[in-house]
């Protein structure tokens, strides 16, 4: 039976990383009231610059840092447009996605030529945690996983604690629900929103870097392959919570892993790829638990309206 094979669970976990990270990032952004559909684009940017700097500096960690900086900057641009200029957030996000796809492909060809990124680019280490790998079954799941898998697990827990149990988390949620009320209590709505959006950029970039220097050590055009959108779905299916996003990412990751295993067994993997979207529609329709967005999600806030 395939389900008893720990390999499929290891694959699920691995597939969940580039979904959970951007989904949690999106949660931070939308909880402060800024719709973020730019995960796909920011992931691409993260993935590309991670590889580039990893190659140039010879250190995958410096590559990761570059990915975070570039992702953060892209998110800051999104934040500026959404917050300061009150531009339509969906259009902005879509613009960033298209821009990022073009930019990374262009830079790839310009910097590396048609051979693509060099095969000797350093990647982040895969590790097994001593002790954990001794546990039967579970040990196999965690054997030789990218270090980012462990970082993700830690981030999931911290994020959830942060959003629901810290003062800043409470303020972020208040700003996403009713910015005017938060403003009348002395909370700086704009600053909190910048913070939320930029944080989401960092998480998305981390998810992108996982693809290019975590599992692989190279970049190919459009290598995120729609994961940013599935992450969006995971965020909604997870009801705009970090734990929920992670859970949804696991479900979606599993359906992908299953698709790979079932390939050649007569079940179309395209069918399985539908699962995330189908589940999200059900969640939005209120069939699988109701998903309610933060009340002020997507609405620009201008305190001096006249």
């Amino acid at each position: 039976m395939i389900f008893s094979d720990p390999e499929i669970w290891a694959a699920t976990l691995s597939m969940a990383v580039p979904l959970a990270l951007p989904a949690i990032g999106g949660t931070f952004s939308e909880r402060t009231g800024v719709v973020n559909i730019a995960m796909e684009g920011i992931m691409l940017i993260g993935a590309f610059f991670a590889v580039t700097f990893s190659y140039w500096t010879g250190s995958a960690w410096l590559g990761l840092l570059a990915a975070l900086i570039c992702g953060g900057l892209t998110a800051a641009a999104l934040a500026w447009g959404a917050i300061r200029v009150s531009a339509d957030q969906t259009v902005l996000g879509m613009g960033i996605n298209i821009f990022a796809a073009g930019l990374t492909t262009f830079l790839l060809n310009t910097l590396f030529g048609f051979n693509g990124t060099p095969i000797n680019t350093p990647k982040l280490p895969d590790i097994s945690i001593p002790g954990l790998d001794k546990i039967p079954y579970i040990g196999v799941i965690f054997q030789n996983q990218s270090i980012l898998v462990y970082i993700m697990v830690v981030l999931v827990i911290i994020s959830h604690w942060f959003l629901f149990h810290t003062r800043l988390g409470l303020r972020m949620r208040s700003v996403g629900e009713h910015p005017l009320a938060a403003d009348t209590l002395g909370i700086n709505v704009w600053r909190i929103r910048y913070f939320g959006v930029i944080l989401s950029g960092l998480f998305s970039a981390l998810g992108g870097a996982y693809l290019s220097i975590g599992v692989l050590n190279g970049f190919t055009p459009n290598m995120t392959n729609g994961r940013g959108y599935i992450a969006l779905a995971a965020m909604i299916f997870g009801k705009w919570t970090p734990l929920g996003s992670f859970g949804a990412a696991l479900i979606f990751g599993f359906s992908t892993a299953l698709g790979i295993v079932l390939q050649g067994q007569g079940i179309s993997s395209n069918l399985l790829q539908m699962i995330p979207y189908a589940l999200t529609i059900l969640a939005l329709a209120g069939l699988v638990g109701r998903a309610v967005a933060p009340a002020a999600d997507g609405i620009p806030y201008d305190p001096r309206r006249s």
Binding site: H165, L170, A181, L185, G186
Partner: protein, 504 residues
């Protein structure tokens, strides 16, 4: 605090146009003024929510320019907003402490709840700190809004219509708190349309008219009539004049009605009631006893669990709100901003909200803007909506003028029956006079009027019969002419007393 020649101009409206005010330490200073006189605008400028066009605000000897509420709070100013600034998705405790939460990085929820519990005991505003604000009645939400202002230990407190939703008992408690603040030397700016409250609590009164401060008087030498006249600039009739009613056939019959609210709690527990043509039936009761759920159920906004509503001879229990509207039910809901208006629509769109499908507002499915606009302009004139500009968005109107727009729309549809829930909430004396006249006019035209109000005075002065609701049941129906405050008050509190209970 001193305010010198302060002005705030919005495009086309001079909301504040020369405001001068001096606030002494430890005084309760009431601001009176008609709807749209500019009271809230003034308070928002003091609180840093709006930037003055010109003029100066001096606080504790220095000129201040608050660019955000953050700076005003920092300087020690607290405010209770006319339209609540609460976050429904958060709990009471979270709403109260937000912006000044206990804890360093971690939010200390237990401590926050403890503080709010202490605060609510100290000020005797009973509330459950762990309840979600979305689940609270508007009366309870008002308490949260007040607690928020007191939590911050302000040096100056602004209360913008804090009593609009409080019961008389709660108003008493609030006044006790205000006296406490006075004793501590904290000045209070108090806005209310209820003249008796102003006379009771304030030391001085400043009257505003059309954006200007007209006069500041010592409360000691003022009477309700003198204040009303000063406010409106003419003689105001404070008592409703009406002739005897000539009630006819019943227009509405309610049999054994049961209604649950959104939290599945039974609010209306078997109501039997009859409303006749040509009468005003007042529904008296303390907030939270099911009166607004009953009104919503008659209008069709919430479904009846059990029982029947017979309107004009037909069972309408299963009809949609639109179908009930078609049959001649008009409704002025309690929450004007949530259920009464589309705030982002202009006045033309808001006045045709019920009938936009029909002639003369629509022809062949296309809205005839010109016809609708001329209709709206007529209503604006008749109901004295200010500013008289049909193309203005509903959100730009003062609270009282928003209420006038709803009333104008509902009353002018020539309904068979009007359900009016808190129709004069937040209205100035002049406007109340106008609305009471409209209600009596409808009655005299042979329409049925169900008046749901928390204001006992209003019920007593308007109703031909008074039904008292307590805990979701009608506990008594008494003729309006002989009812006294005490008698109705007792019944509202649930004591069945020795009043004549006549079920007609």
């Amino acid at each position: 605090m001193e305010i010198v020649d302060l002005k705030k101009w919005f495009p086309g409206v001079k909301a504040n146009d020369g405001v001068n005010l001096t606030l002494r330490a430890g005084e309760v200073h009431a601001i009176l003024g008609e709807n749209g006189a500019g009271k809230s605008t003034l308070m928002k400028m003091i609180y840093g929510l709006l930037e003055p066009t010109s003029g100066e605000i001096r606080f504790m000897g220095k000129a201040v320019h608050f660019r955000s509420p953050r700076e005003a709070i920092h300087a020690g100013i607290g405010m209770v907003h006319q339209h609540f600034m609460l976050i429904p998705a958060l709990t009471v405790a979270e709403n109260v402490v937000l912006g000044d939460e206990p804890g360093r990085i971690k939010f200390n929820r237990k401590e926050a709840e403890r503080r709010v519990r202490d605060l609510s005991e100290k000020y005797r505003l009973a509330i459950d700190p762990t309840a979600k604000v979305a689940d609270l009645s508007v009366g309870l939400q008002q308490r949260v809004e007040i607690l928020k202002a007191f939590y911050r230990k302000a040096k100056l407190i602004i209360l913008d219509e804090p009593t609009a939703l409080l019961t008389p008992q709660e108003t008493r408690e609030l006044f006790a708190i205000i006296h406490g603040l006075k004793a501590d030397g904290v000045p209070v700016l108090f806005i209310s349309h209820k003249l008796d409250e102003v006379l009771e609590i304030s030391d001085r009164v400043t009257v505003m008219r059309a954006g200007k401060t007209v006069e500041t008087v010592e409360t000691a030498g003022a009477t309700p009539q003198s204040l009303a006249n000063l406010m409106v600039g003419r003689e105001v009739v404070l008592r409703v004049e009406k002739n005897a009613a000539h009630p006819g056939e019943p227009i509405l019959k309610i049999h054994d009605l049961h209604v649950r609210d959104s939290g599945r709690i039974e609010r209306v527990k078997g109501v039997n009631l009859e409303l006749r043509r040509g009468e005003i039936l007042g529904l008296a009761g303390i907030d939270g006893n099911g009166q607004f759920e009953l009104a919503d159920a008659i209008a069709g906004l919430i479904k009846a669990e059990q029982g029947h509503i017979i309107f004009d001879g037909h069972d309408i229990t299963r009809l949609t709100p639109a179908e009930r509207t078609e049959r001649g039910i008009a409704y002025v809901p309690q929450d004007r901003q949530a259920d009464g208006l589309v705030l982002s629509f202009d006045l033309v769109e808001n006045t045709i909200l019920r009938d936009f499908r029909k002639r003369p507002f629509a022809k062949n499915g296309v809205i005839d803007r010109a016809a609708a606009a001329s209709y709206t302009e007529r209503l604006i004139r008749e109901f004295d909506v200010r500013p008289p500009d049909a193309s203005r968005k509903a959100s730009e109107l003062s609270g009282g003028n928003q209420q006038k727009v709803i009333l104008a729309r509902e009353v002018s549809r020539d309904p068979l029956m009007l359900i009016a829930a808190q129709p004069t909430r937040g209205l100035d004396v002049g406007a109340i006079e106008g609305i009471h006249r409209q209600l009596v006019r409808l009655r005299d035209e042979g329409k049925g009027v169900l008046l749901v109000s928390l204001e006992l005075e209003e019920i007593l002065s308007l109703s031909d019969r008074i039904a008292v609701i307590h805990d979701g049941r009608i506990v008594a129906i008494v003729p309006g002419a002989h009812a006294t405050r005490e008698q109705i008050g007792l019944l509202m509190a649930g004591s069945h007393g020795h009043s004549e209970v006549s079920m007609s």
